[in-house]
Symmetry: C2
Subunit: 362 residues, 2 copies
C-alpha cells in the first residue's frame, strides 16, 4: 500500500494582493522562501512520498505554470476544468490513484501552507498514515495559539487527553470571537489544518455514502478515465458536480473512525501579509523590518517590504507598514490592515494618466 | 531701458529625492503643476518681459535639458562651466546684458519657486522695477508666517511702516529657532525670497567695489565675450572665480539705496515634499491626500503620492506619508521627515538581488 500525495493548488486567493492576482495566487509566489509555496510543499514531502506518487490538482488557468514548476520533479498534474471545491477535487484524485493501486494511501494537503519543522511534519504524517492504512479518516489539527475566527475547528472527544492521536468529536465552522475564545480556553479544540489522510477506497466509499450526486458524476468520469473521451467527459461532467467541501460533505458525516493528530510542527496558512511578517520574525532586522536585500529602512520599525520589481526601496520614519512593489501596482498599507487588501483585487481603477515624468525623459 | 529676466537654474537639490536626482533637480520636475518648475517660471514672466529678453543660467550638466525646455520660447541659455554661487552667476549674466543694452534692467530669480498669485507677482515686480531703474538694488521680501529656520531674513529699517516698499536695515543669515520666533513677532523681518532687481551697470559696479577678484575675472571674460576664444576663456577663468552669494558678497555691503518690496503673492520655495503637500491643500481629497489620478486611498489621511512611473498606487489605512514612485527607486517616508530624504541621495545601496518574481515570469 503505497503512499501518494495530493496537493491541492486550486486556490485563487487575493490576500497577497498585489503580489498575488487572480492569474497568480499565493501558491505560485515566492513569499516564505526562495521557492514558490507549491515547490516548497512538494519538497517537504520528499522524505515521505516518492516523487512519481505526487499529484498536483490545479485549475485549468494555472495548469501551465504548475507544469513548469513541477518539470524538474516526477510529480504529475491533474487539471480540473473548473473548481468544484475539495470533495470533487479529492474524489477525482482518488479515482486516478485507485486505478494505479486500489489501496493507495492519500495524503491530501493544500499547496500554500508553511511548515517550520520539517522533521516533525514528516513524523506526524508517518504516524497518521499508519492509522489511515487501517481505514480511518485522519486529519491534522493544530493547537490554537489565539482565538482565530478565520479557521474551522476540530473538537476532540472528551477523555482523549493530551495524546497526539485523538478521536474527533465534531468539526465546527469558523466561529465568532467569543466562541473562539471559549475554544482556546477549553483546550479541547484544534484548528483544522486542511491536511487529511485516507485510502482512495475509503474516501470513494464515503462519497458513495454521503454525496450520491458527486459519486454518480465521478463514476461517469471513472468509466472514461483510460479512454480517448476522458477530456471530453471530464469537461462535460465536472462542472455539474456539487460544490461542497470535504469537511462538510464527508468528514462531518462519516461513521468511520475519525482521528485527529495534534500537530506541532510550526504550521501557518500564511493568510495575510501580517501573518507572513509574524512568521518571519527571525529574518527581520533589529527593528522588526522584513526587507529584501535592496531596501533600506531608517528610523523605521516593524515594516514588511515585498518587491517583485527589483526596484530599490527606501523607508524613513515609518512604522507597521506593508509595502508591496510590483511591476504595475504599488501597495502601501498598514500591516494591521492586511486582511483588507483583497478589496483592491479586481477593482476598477481610475484611468491611467500621463505620469509626472520629468521633461528629459519625454 | 528694457527689462530682462535672469532665471537661475543651477540648483542641484536633493530635497525631492528620489524624484529629483543630481542629474535632474527640482526645477526640471513637474511637481507644482503640469509643467516643469522652470517652464512655469518662464511662463510667469511673460506679462512682464518679452521672451527674447529671458536668460536661463544653468550648469553644463543641465544645459541640454534646459535647451529642450526653452526650445518653444525665445529665451536664451547661458551655461556656466561650473557652479560658482550667485555672485558669479549674476555677474556673468550682467556682462552679457550690458553688451546688449548698457542700461539693461535685470530681474534675477530662482527657477524653482512657486508663486500662487500671478497678478500680484507681476504687479510687485513692476513697482520694484521702477525703483531699480533709478539705480537702487531692490529685493522682494516675504512676510513670514512661521519661525522658519531654513531661510535668510531681511530686517527693514525702523519707521518703514507697513508700506510695500521699505528700506533695508540689514540681511541676516538663517537664524536659530528662538531668533526666528523673535523675528516673526517683531514684524520687522521678511524672508529673503532670492528675487532681486537692479541694472546690469549697477550690479557690475557693486562687484567692482566689493568683490575685486570676481570683478577681475569677469573683466577677462568680458574682453573675450564676442570673440572665438570666449568658451575657452570662460572655461579657464570661471572655475577660478570666488564662490560667494550675491547676498553676502554684495548686498549686505552695498552703500547704494537698498530697498525691499513686501511681497504678498503666495510664495513658496517648495523646499520639501511636506511643503508641496501644504502648498497644494486645495488639490487634496477630502481626507487631505494629494494623489495622482491613478492612485486610490482608502481610510488614509494626509498622504502625498508622487508617481513618475505611472504605476497604480493603492493606500490603505495609512497617514502622513510621502510615497514617491520612480522607475528605479521607491520612497516611503513620514511627510514630517521630508527634510531628511536627501540623506538617501547618492547613498551606496545594497546589491540588487534577484527580485521575488513569481515563477511564471521567469
Amino acid at each position: 500500500m503505497n503512499m501518494y500525495a495530493i496537493i491541492m493548488a486550486g486556490g485563487s486567493g487575493t490576500r497577497f494582493w498585489p503580489a498575488s492576482r487572480e492569474y497568480l495566487p499565493k501558491q505560485f509566489l515566492r513569499i516564505t522562501g526562495e521557492q514558490t509555496m507549491l515547490e516548497e510543499t512538494i519538497g517537504r514531502l520528499g522524505q515521505l512520498v516518492s516523487g512519481d506518487r505526487v499529484r498536483v490538482v490545479v485549475g485549468r488557468r494555472h495548469a501551465e505554470v504548475t507544469r513548469r514548476l513541477v518539470a524538474g520533479t516526477s510529480a504529475g498534474v491533474l487539471v480540473e476544468p473548473v473548481g468544484r471545491n475539495t470533495a470533487a477535487c479529492i474524489g477525482l484524485a482518488a479515482l486516478h490513484l485507485r486505478r494505479l493501486e486500489p489501496g493507495a494511501l492519500m495524503i491530501v494537503l493544500p499547496a500554500d501552507h508553511y511548515i517550520a519543522n520539517q522533521e516533525a511534519f514528516v513524523g506526524t504524517l508517518r504516524q497518521a498514515a499508519e492509522e489511515a492504512r487501517g481505514g480511518a479518516i485522519v486529519t491534522l489539527g493544530i493547537a490554537p495559539t489565539r482565538p482565530e475566527t478565520g479557521y474551522g475547528y476540530i473538537e476532540v472527544a472528551t477523555g482523549s487527553g493530551e495524546a497526539s492521536c485523538l478521536r474527533v468529536e465534531r468539526f465546527v465552522e469558523k466561529p465568532d470571537y467569543e466562541t473562539a475564545l471559549g475554544y482556546l480556553k477549553s483546550r479541547r479544540f484544534l484548528w483544522n489544518s486542511g491536511i487529511f489522510l485516507f485510502t482512495a477506497e475509503a474516501i470513494l466509499a464515503e462519497i458513495d455514502a454521503h454525496l450520491p450526486e458527486l459519486a454518480q458524476g465521478l463514476a461517469e468520469i471513472d468509466r472514461a478515465i483510460d479512454g480517448e473521451a476522458y477530456e471530453e467527459v471530464l469537461e462535460r461532467v465536472y462542472g455539474q458536480l456539487p460544490s461542497v467541501s470535504i469537511d462538510y460533505g464527508i468528514i462531518e458525516k462519516t461513521s468511520r473512525s475519525l482521528l485527529v493528530f495534534r500537530a506541532d510542527f510550526g504550521w501557518s496558512d500564511v493568510g495575510s501579509w501580517q501573518a507572513l511578517h509574524e512568521l518571519k520574525r527571525s529574518e527581520c532586522d533589529a527593528a522588526g523590518n522584513l526587507l529584501p536585500a535592496n531596501a533600506l529602512a531608517e528610523e523605521s520599525r516593524d515594516n514588511l517590504v515585498y518587491s517583485q520589481s527589483g526596484r530599490r526601496v527606501a523607508l524613513l520614519g515609518v512604522e507597521g507598514l506593508v509595502v508591496v512593489d510590483t511591476d504595475d501596482v504599488l501597495l502601501v498599507a498598514g500591516l494591521d490592515r492586511s486582511q483588507d487588501v483583497r478589496r483592491f483585487a479586481g477593482r476598477e481603477w481610475p484611468a491611467r494618466p500621463e505620469p509626472a515624468r520629468p521633461e528629459n525623459e519625454k
